[in-house]
């Protein structure tokens, strides 16, 4: 094999390998919310960075994060065997869940608390689309997912004031991901088909 043949082989090999990236990988990355810093406006940049932190905190709820909750929330609690939803005195909605056997129930509960929501297990709601408007920035949204097999619940804190008008919250868990599963949360456009309103 001469040099040209070897180089051609190498290029073909690299191209073949590169073609192995599934299209869904790009789709997932394009669907995520990135908050570019705006030109030269410090105040705006600060606000948007805080907004990015809020969204990033929520997006960080991939199942790789291990931060089990220490105790159930105490106010206005709605309890099932699978999850609890409560509203804190500061307005935060706290979701504790041991499993998501009843995603529709959790979705309805969140909507009842005034959070336009889509909750799915095993797939992402195809009716949901990334929110493209201005992001608000209080930054309390976040949480952690407990270790598999743990008897401690996973915890999600939702600050409703971080969800802009016209937007809602998407929660998708147990999404197949390279032989494992991942969770995904993010701010999406509020539509009847996605978030109920």
């Amino acid at each position: 094999m001469n040099t040209d043949e070897f180089e051609d082989n190498l290029r073909e090999t690299l191209a073949h390998r590169a073609a192995g990236v599934p299209a869904t990988a790009g789709d997932r990355l394009r669907q995520r919310t990135y908050l570019p810093r705006a030109h030269g406006r410090a105040a705006l940049a600060t606000a948007m960075t805080a907004g990015a932190a809020a969204v990033a905190a929520v997006a960080a709820l991939a199942v790789t994060a291990l931060a089990p909750a220490s105790s159930p929330a105490s106010h206005q609690s709605h309890t099932t065997q699978a999850w609890t939803v409560s509203k804190e005195s500061n307005g935060d909605i706290v979701v504790l869940y041991w499993s998501l056997r009843d995603p529709a129930g959790l979705e309805a509960k969140l909507r009842a608390y005034g959070v336009p929501s889509s909750v799915t297990v095993g797939h992402i709601n195809p009716a949901c689309h990334r929110y493209t408007g201005p992001i608000l920035k209080h930054g309390r949204m976040g949480g952690g997912v407990s270790a598999p097999g743990s008897d401690r619940p996973s915890r999600l804190v939702i600050d409703p004031s971080d969800i802009p008008p016209g937007a809602g919250l998407q929660i998708a868990v147990n999404i197949p991901y390279h032989g494992g599963v991942r969770g995904l949360t993010g701010v999406v456009q509020a539509t009847p088909a996605c978030t109920g309103r």
């Binding site: 094999m1 001469n2 040099t3 040209d4 070897f6 180089e7 082989n9 190498l10 290029r11 073909e12 090999t13 690299l14 191209a15 073949h16 390998r17 590169a18 073609a19 192995g20 990236v21 599934p22 990988a25 790009g26 997932r28 990355l29 394009r30 995520r32 990135y34 908050l35 570019p36 810093r37 705006a38 030109h39 030269g40 406006r41 105040a43 705006l44 940049a45 948007m48 960075t49 990015a52 990033a56 493209t132 408007g133 201005p134 991901y177 390279h178």
Partner: protein, 195 residues
Amino acid sequence: MHWLRADTTRREFERFVTEQTDQLLRTAYLMAWDLAETEDLVQETLLQVARRWAKVAAMEHPAAYARKLLVNLAIDTAQKRARRSGELTAGGGADVTDRPDHRAERDLDSVDTQAVLLDVLAGLPARQRAIIVLRYWEDLPEAEVAAILGCSTGTVKSTASRGLARLREQLGHGPPGDPALADFTQATTDGKVTR
């Protein structure tokens, strides 16, 4: 007014993400050799670009900047992982063994040469593989590869030469000292590789 500007910025960045994500993914995959890590690398790259978007958008080639971020991020990640696991001393093929990509491997079962090349590529040190990827996948000139990696053109040449020699050696088409390899190495060192 602020929101208007923010909307414009967001739209520009979203167009960038739409246009560049697939190419970044392919390059990252060749760098990382693992799909999950590939996505993480590209996501981190896009987040870093977003944080610096005001400056990046004004660049002549924002995509080249993103690629530079990605490549160095991939090398840093691989080197940190290698330090943790000692995989650099484990020899070629460790990546493939540790993190098999069965779909890609199945596609390549009947292509022996490619399979061998892939196996050796997977075992190359991150920086060496980066240079091979940038030269033979991205088709970048050595000077540009050197600029991306922050090293001299001579380092790119010598590193590429060692990587290519290892690939050829494993293919059985040119052990060190073989006339064909010597010819190839010389051509690479001189930057006059015939396409």
